[in-house]
């Protein structure tokens, strides 16, 4: 089915985009890579009066590394993340996770900002940003503000972006020292959204113990969540599969899985445990090798 007609705005600068969004208010949808919004338009799940197409905003395509922080413009495509172009190669988790997104055509068009602002609960990139304690950079009529990932994803397809604001970039703190990451996900078919995905980041101290462990889960609740209780339990522990299994079995999992046609809530709980252990094992082994994964 064709999309319902809408007014189309293709601003050339962020300032123009913000002024269009300010004037149009809640009637406008922002179009980035279009890999989620266009099917929602053609299936008529959304019928905005206006679409603000931001593909011309070259200012949102930048990638730069500033010390231990990697800043990625909202319009950087999944394909660039997957290939690890330039400074993007300094975040191997991003590469590994981006390679799992949809199919090659989705990755050619889809953007990191689009994925984060769309906030699908099973999407990979929101969980990556959550596990790395990323910071979202929003621009609005009042200027720029930064939002920690923990406060950005507020629920199903919901973020703390305000009307009239545009997601401009994401900043990812990169670890210093011995660190390893991994993503493990379960899908029914190649290219599907994950039923559940687990992201793990393990940092080791000089003695080989885990100085910090972070875990984020996608697909087991309305938004990506951190397994804070397991993370706390693993701080200071010598990494081993046994230790990871024990921590995951003994501690509360901060997930709120629902049942749908793909999986029951119980099965999502099971996947969360299994995939978390696998991701931790792989992340820890990469950290021990000292090699970037």
């Amino acid at each position: 089915m064709p999309a319902a007609p809408f007014d189309y705005h293709a601003p050339a600068t962020v300032a123009e985009a913000l002024s269009a969004l300010g004037a149009l208010g809640e009637d406008a949808k922002v179009l980035a890579g279009g890999q989620s919004l266009v099917p929602m338009l053609t299936l008529r799940l959304v019928r905005p009066a206006a679409v603000v197409d931001i593909h011309g905003l070259d200012e949102l395509r930048g990638v730069r590394r500033d010390g231990d922080t990697l800043e990625i413009g909202a319009l950087v495509r999944h394909r660039a993340l997957e290939l690890g172009d330039g400074p993007l190669g300094s975040c191997p988790l991003l590469q590994e996770a981006a390679a799992l997104i949809g199919n090659v055509r989705v990755r050619a068009m889809g953007t990191i900002g689009g994925s984060l602002a769309h906030a699908d609960p099973a999407a990979e990139l929101p969980a990556v940003v959550r596990v790395l304690d990323g910071v979202l950079v929003a621009r609005g009529p009042g200027g720029e503000r930064t939002i920690p990932a923990a406060e950005f994803f507020t629920g199903l397809l919901s973020t703390s972006l305000r009307p009239g604001e545009l997601l401009a970039a994401v900043r990812l703190p990169l670890p210093a020292g011995r660190a390893g990451y991994a993503v493990e996900e379960f899908t029914r078919r190649a290219g599907d959204f994950a039923v559940v995905a687990a992201m793990a980041a393990v940092e080791l101290d000089g003695g080989g113990r885990a100085s910090r462990v972070r875990i984020a889960i996608a697909g087991a609740g309305p938004a990506p969540v951190r397994l804070a209780a397991v993370e706390r339990a693993l701080a200071g522990v010598e990494p081993s599969e046994q230790a990871f299994r024990q921590a995951v079995a003994d501690h509360k999992l901060e997930i709120e899985p629902d049942a749908d046609m793909h999986a029951s809530a119980d099965y999502r709980r099971h996947l969360t445990r299994v995939l978390t252990v696998r991701a931790l094992v792989r992340a820890a082994s990469r950290a021990m090798k000292g090699a970037q994964p």
Partner: protein
Amino acid sequence: MTELIVAFTLNGERREVRVAAHETLLTLLRDGLGAIEVKDGCGEGVCGTCTVLLDGEPVSSCLLLAARVAGRQVTTVRGLAPVGSLSLLQNSFVPHGAAQCGFCTPGMLLTAHAFLQQHPRPTREDIRRAISGNLCRCTGYVKIIDAIEAASAGAAPASPSGAAPARRG
């Protein structure tokens, strides 16, 4: 509703068309320009049969607003070889029986074409991964993978030009 004039290149030929902003490239190509070699499958970017190359890169034409192709190069399966001939890859599909109903074939060929340009000597596993976003409901994929493998630079004998004369199946 917004209408725009969009100028772009389709299979090497310059086109200038009036489109509605809510129109996808798929409907423009099929309904507006008669490029019915681009197939209309799922409409959600999943099946891959509407694949076209945008500046050489495979994209789902059902998920691209036509307004976005201004100034870009769009290639459909007709653009892979001059009229009356087939590319090496297309030719390889024939003896391998890599097409049955043919509905997935245009997208499969474009995806494989772009992939082989980037990865001239792929493994079978690389090929499987490369076409994982293009669904075929007839062949079971084995013959498609065989055909792509045979058309790769690793296979002998390969045509250096990448194009071969038409052959009747």
